[in-house]
Symmetry: C2
Subunit: 239 residues, 2 copies
């Protein structure tokens, strides 16, 4: 099987670098197609960990393929894996990202989310390709601990998770995050696209604005999500 | 005068795009060398604002130069300006960034900082070039409302601002942001490099960790700074 540079329509993707490759093996070993090691990689600790996690997965020394997949960046360890299906946990709090379009931002959000115990992320289309290696790189391994599921519309998401109380983050909201008390769970924190935010029809009594000075138009998306996660996590842990 | 593509040793830099160009003219009109307009730019509202702000600054229609400075990205408005000196306000709270190395992160931090009323940023060398157009782009105009000053060492900074209480953000800290009460101002929020964090000698009783799950190594730097700014701003506004 010839491994090609990433395209959305391929049935596989790949990790680049030791940390995400180890996380992939820990969480989704059965989906791994092959592990790629560069001939100049001799970190015994990492190699022994890889061997203990791989079970029957093939390990291949293939400098040319690693160079191709990583666009010639310094990369010594990689793994090719089958894209797998995920499902959201109906009992956990969710993040809902509406039309996210920046892969680095998306990966950074997955990382922050896992840091505050949010493992379940709904993505409303159109959106970036969640399995793109650029997403995996920005997520720094956290991707493989998360459940990320596409929905065609927010209505489709709501119909499947009717018990989740939705809080849409938007500049038009009247309630500030600073004064909001999060009481009922499960809840969903909903964020819009990087440039345009959420459409006006998301505005309701549960909408929230992260109050900031008028000197800036808005906070950057991963920062806004990080702040919301911090506040919600802090409150829920106090109860 | 021939305008060259950006290099650190040039005495000038430039904004790309309408929003940062307008902010530059509003805050630092006297430092602007010339305004560049693309021949196909006909937004009357923006052009009239530019004319009202420019005073005696030259406006030049120069598609070739805009194309060169913006690396052929779609850009219709730009301004070349003299790099100017800034000073930190001794009575305001500061952010201190130790060895920041990512220009996009640095710009994003300036934007969040301004959003929470922090206009004064100390940068401990070695560090990115604060005037690089990549910083200005990520800062989205907020750069021109901020005071950003280099220091060779943290000791040099402390000697100049002896009244500031320093809070160093580091994973080794015992006190969590979630339980910290910020009482005395002026204060300085100190953050380390993207990869390595702060050196151990920054650790003291005022050090703070943003508590997160063990499933991630750390939060991304702009996210961590955003969360700290949010919490401090919220507490100081309540007093």
């Amino acid at each position: 099987m010839e491994i090609k540079s990433y395209r959305k329509d391929l049935f596989y993707s790949y990790t680049l670098g030791a940390f995400p490759t180890i996380e992939l093996l820990k969480k989704h070993q059965k989906d791994v197609i092959k592990i790629l090691v560069h001939s100049s990689f001799h970190n015994e600790e990492v190699l022994s960990l890889i061997h203990s996690l791989r079970k029957d997965t093939e390990i291949q020394i293939n400098d040319k393929l690693i160079s191709k997949l990583s666009n010639k960046e310094n990369c010594y360890l990689a793994a090719v894996f089958n894209k797998y299906q995920m499902t959201l946990n109906p009992n956990k709090n969710h993040i809902v990202l509406v039309n996210p379009m920046n892969m680095g931002n998306f990966g950074t959000i997955i990382r922050s989310a896992l840091g505050f115990g949010f493992t379940d992320i709904a993505v409303i289309k159109p959106a970036i390709d969640i399995f793109d290696p650029k997403v995996l790189r920005a997520a720094m391994g956290s991707f493989f601990s998360s459940n990320i599921v596409y929905f065609n519309t927010i209505e489709e998401y709501k119909a499947l998770y009717p018990d989740h109380k939705l809080h849409s983050f938007m500049l038009q909201a009247k309630k500030t995050l600073q004064e909001t008390e999060f009481e009922s769970t499960p809840l969903s924190l909903v964020f819009g696209n990087e440039s345009s935010g959420l459409p006006e029809n998301y505005l309701d009594d549960n909408s929230i604005i992260i109050k900031h000075s008028n000197d800036i138009d808005s906070l950057n998306l991963p920062t806004a999500v990080g702040i919301a996660l911090y506040e919600v996590d802090k409150q829920l842990k106090k109860r």
